[in-house]
C-alpha cells in the first residue's frame, strides 16, 4: 500500500500500440519499487522481529507457556478484529465491538448462573448479535450516514444495556471448559493447545475463504472500492452491510464469551481495550481504512503484532500508563511506515 502509484491513472502504458518498448531491465525507479515492496512486506517481517525482541528483552520468554499466552492474546484480538476487517473492507467501520463484547460477557455469566442451558445461551447471544449488526447496517443505509456514527450510537445503547443488566451483579458463573479454552494450560481434546487458538485458526481460514471465494466476499470488496459503481453493478449493497456487521457482532459476542471464561466474573467493561485495538490490528496489518483492499490474512498479522507489542511493553516492565503512551506512539510510527494515504495530487 504505497503512495507512489496513483489510484486511477489515465496514463498507464499504452496497450494498443505494438511498437517496441524499452527492454525491461532494471526498473527505472529502483528506490520506489524497493520501498513499495518493503512496505507491503513489513507486517510479515515485524511478526518474527518483535518475537525475537521479546525473547531478548524478557527473561524466560522463550517457553511454551509464554508463546501460548501470546497466542491466546492474539486469538482474542484476532477474532474480535475478524468482523472489523470485513466492515472496513466494505468501506465502513464498527465501533460497537467493545460494547457487544461486554454485553455478551454479561449475558453468558448471568444466564449460566441462572441455569440456562448452554446451547440456548449461545443461541440467544447469536440472535442478539445478529440483531445488533443488522440494526447498525440498516440504520447506516437508511439514514445515509457512515457506519462510524451509527455503530457509535449502537455502542452507547448496547453498553448501556450491558451496564444496566450487570448493575449490582458481582457473581456469575461460567462452565469449566470455557475457562480452560482460554487458559494457558488448557487443552482441546488430545491437543495441548487451548481451544481459542484452534477456533481462531479455523476462523481465519474460513474468513479468508469467505472474502475471496464467495459472492458476498467479492461484493464486499466492490462495495468498499466504489459504492456507487457497486450499486449499479447489481451488488447487493444493503445485504452485504447486514452480513458484515452481523459477522462483526457475532465475532465480538464470541470474544465476549471467551473473555467471560478468562475472568469468570461478569464485567461489562471487559471489551473496552478492544475499541482501539481492533482498528489498530486491521490498519497495522496493512488493510486500508478506505475500503476495497486488504484482507483478513493481514489482520492476522496485525493482531499478532499488536499482541506482541503489548506483551513486550508489559514484559519490559512498563506500567499501565506507560504502556498506553508507548502504544500510542508505536501505532503512529508503524502506520507512518506503511499505512499512509495518497497525496491529494495523486488523486486527481
Amino acid at each position: 500500500m504505497t503512495d507512489s502509484t496513483p489510484v486511477a491513472a489515465t496514463d498507464g502504458p499504452s496497450e494498443t500500440s505494438r511498437t517496441a518498448r524499452q527492454p525491461v531491465g532494471v526498473p527505472n525507479n529502483l528506490t520506489a519499487v524497493v520501498a513499495a515492496n518493503f512496505t507491503r512486506a513489513l507486517p510479515y517481517i515485524l511478526v518474527p522481529v518483535l518475537f525475537i525482541l521479546s525473547v531478548i528483552f524478557i527473561p524466560g520468554y522463550f517457553s511454551k507457556s509464554s508463546i501460548i499466552s501470546l497466542l491466546i492474546l492474539s486469538s482474542l484480538l484476532g477474532l474480535s478484529s475478524l468482523g472489523q476487517t470485513m466492515t472496513i473492507v466494505a468501506g465502513g467501520i464498527d465501533l460497537s465491538i467493545p460494547a457487544v463484547i461486554g454485553l455478551s460477557d454479561i449475558i453468558v455469566t448471568q444466564l449460566y448462573y441462572q441455569h440456562w442451558s448452554l446451547p440456548l445461551i449461545f443461541l440467544a447471544i447469536a440472535a442478539l448479535a445478529i440483531l445488533i449488526g443488522t440494526i447498525s447496517a440498516v440504520a447506516s443505509v437508511l439514514l445515509r450516514v457512515h457506519s462510524l456514527i451509527t455503530t457509535f450510537g449502537m455502542s452507547l445503547i448496547v453498553s448501556g444495556v450491558a451496564l444496566e443488566w450487570s448493575n449490582g451483579a458481582t457473581s456469575g458463573l461460567v462452565p469449566g471448559w470455557l475457562t480452560s479454552s482460554v487458559s494457558v494450560i488448557g487443552k482441546t481434546g488430545p491437543i495441548p493447545i487451548p481451544a481459542i487458538i484452534i477456533v481462531w485458526a479455523v476462523g481465519s481460514v474460513l474468513a479468508v475463504l469467505f472474502m475471496n471465494r464467495t459472492r458476498i466476499g467479492r461484493e464486499t470488496y466492490a462495495l468498499g472500492a466504489n459504492a456507487v459503481a457497486a450499486r449499479l453493478a447489481t451488488v447487493r449493497s444493503t445485504w452485504v452491510q447486514v452480513v458484515v456487521f452481523s459477522v462483526s457482532a457475532l465475532c465480538a459476542a464470541m470474544v465476549g464469551i471467551f473473555l467471560a471464561g478468562y475472568s469468570g466474573i461478569p464485567d461489562p467493561t471487559v471489551g473496552e481495550p478492544y475499541f482501539f485495538q481492533t482498528i489498530t490490528a486491521v490498519v497495522i496489518g496493512g488493510t486500508s481504512l478506505l475500503g476495497g483492499r486488504g484482507g483478513y490474512l493481514r489482520t492476522v498479522l496485525g493482531a499478532l503484532i499488536v499482541a506482541e507489542l503489548t506483551t513486550l511493553l508489559v514484559g519490559v516492565g512498563f506500567n499501565a500508563s506507560f504502556q498506553e503512551l508507548a502504544l500510542g506512539i508505536l501505532v503512529i510510527l508503524l502506520t507512518s511506515s506503511y499505512g499512509r494515504e495518497l497525496k491529494v495530487a495523486a488523486k486527481i
Binding site: 489510484v7 496514463d11 496497450e15 525507479n29 464467495t214 466492490a222 472500492a225 447489481t234
Partner: protein, 550 residues
Amino acid sequence: MTTVDVASRLDVQDLSRSFGETKALRSATLRVAPGEIHSLAGENGSGKSTLIKILSGVLRPDRGTLTWEGDVKQHLSSPASAQAMGISTVFQETLFAPEMTVRDNIFLGTDRLFRYGRRKGAELDTARQAMTDLGLDGLDRDRPMWMLSLAERQLVTIVRAIVRPWRLLILDESTSALDAQQRDRLFDYLRLARSQGKSVLFTSHRMDEVLGLADRITVLRQGTTVATMAVGEASRRGILGHMSGRAEGASMYSADTADIVSAAPPPRLEADRQAAGQPAATAHAPVAPTPVLRTPVLQTQQLTLRPSSRPISLEVRAGEILGLAGLEGQGQVEFVECLSGLRKPVSGELAVLGANGAAHPVRHYSGANRLGIRYVPRDRRHEGLFGPLSVFDNFAVTLWADFNRFGVLRRQQARKRFADFAESSRLVSASPARAISTLSGGNQQKVLLGRWIAMRPRVLVVNDPLRGVDANTKEELYGLFRRLAADGVAIIYLSTEITELLTLTDQIAVFHEGSVVAMLPSETSSDTDVVAAMFGDEHPGGTQRVGADG
C-alpha cells in the same frame, strides 16, 4: 519531427516522469508560442495527462526543463505557483465543491488562507464577463454546485480558470460534457484570447476540434513527442498514424475488425447458452431463441419525460442500434435513465417484449436488469471502476450472481468468460490479476463494457461510452458494438459526437425540450440534419425553424 522556430512562451524539453515501474513520460518536448492555440494529441496512455499535470504544478518531473517566458525552471511546486506564473488549467475531471455556490467555486483558491474584506468590484466584473462569454449569464451565482448539470459544472470550472490573469490556458478534454453550441462559444472565446496574445494548450479526442481550432499540433506516443506540425500540414490520418505508430494511412479497422464484423455468431455464445442450462425466466440468458430478424424487444408507450414534453412512443428491435442525440439537457439522459430503470417517467409505459410478445414493464433498476437491460454508466471513474480491484474483479462483478454454487464462486467459468471477452475485444492485458488502475483509459472502458456484455444483455444502454477514449480503441469498440448488434442485442447509444452516431447507428432519435423531435435514418442523414433537429427543426432539410425560446 519538424522543428519550428518560434519565440516561445512555454518551452518543454525532454520531460520524463515515472510512477513506480511505469514510465508515463519518457521524453516530452513541447513549444507553445504567444498568441497560439496548440493541441496536444495522443492516445490514452501517451502521457498527455501527466504532462499537463506537470505543467500545472500537480506533479514534478523526474528530469527535463520547463522554460516559461524565458525563465528556466526544474519544476512547478504547486498549482498555486503555476497560477501565479500565469498558467491556468482546467482538468479532465470536473472538480468542484458541491455544497459551495457557483461564485465560491469560481473564486476558489484566489484568496489566501485568511483574507479579509469583500471581494473587489473588478474581480466580480471579470467573473461576470467570463460567464457571459461562455453563455452562463443566466446562471444564479448563489446556487450550490450540486444543483448544476454536468455541462454547467464544466463551464463553471472553465470560468474559474479564466477569471485569474492567465497567459497560458490548459484545457484537458474540457469540452467533453458540452454540447455543440457551448463548445462553439468556448472556441470563440479562445480565438479572441489568441488574438490578444494569449496561449492555449488543449487536448481533445475529437479530430474536428483539433483540426478546427489548433494552430499547431504536438503528438505524444508512449510518453515521447513524436511529431510537431502546423495544422496546415496535418491530416486526420497523419495524426492518427503518429499517435498509434502505424504507418500513415493504415487503419486498424480495415485489417482485423472487418473479420469480426462480418463473422457469424461465434461459437462461444452458443456454448454459453448451453452451459447456462435451461433459459430462466429472470434473464441473464434471454428467453427468446436466437433472434432471427428484428423482432421488437423494447417498447415505450406515451413515455413523457417532463410535464411539458411530448410523449415518446417507439420500438427498438433486436439487433438495432438506436442513437440518441441532442443538445445538453434536452432529455436524452433522462430517457436513458428511464430505460435503465433509474428514473421514473412522468407518465407512460416502458416494457421489454418477450418471445411471445408479452410485455414486461420496467419499473426499477434491478427489475430492468432482470429483464436483460444493461446500463453502462457515463462516468467511468465514479460509476464504473473499482479502482483498487483487479481487472478480473472489475469484469466479473456482474457474473458472480450466476456463477456461484450456494454462494461459493465458480471461478473457472468466470475466468473462461473473461478470456473469451478479452480475446474478442482485443483487450491486451498481461494478466487479469493486474490492478485495473494500471490499464489505459481505453482498456478500462473495454473491461467495463465487458462487465455488462458478459451478462448477455437483451438491450444494452450506453451513455457516451467512448468519451475520452482514443481513436484506435474507439475503432475496436465500434466493431464490438456492431458484432453485438449482429448477435441480436438491441443497443441504445447516446453520444455527443454526431459523426459517431452517423457511422455507428441505424437511426438517430434527436431530443429537444424533453421530446423526440426527429427520427433520422443514419445512412441517409447528414451532420447538418442532425444539428438542425437538435435545435428543434422537426423536418431538417425543410424550413429552418428556430427552436423554442431559450
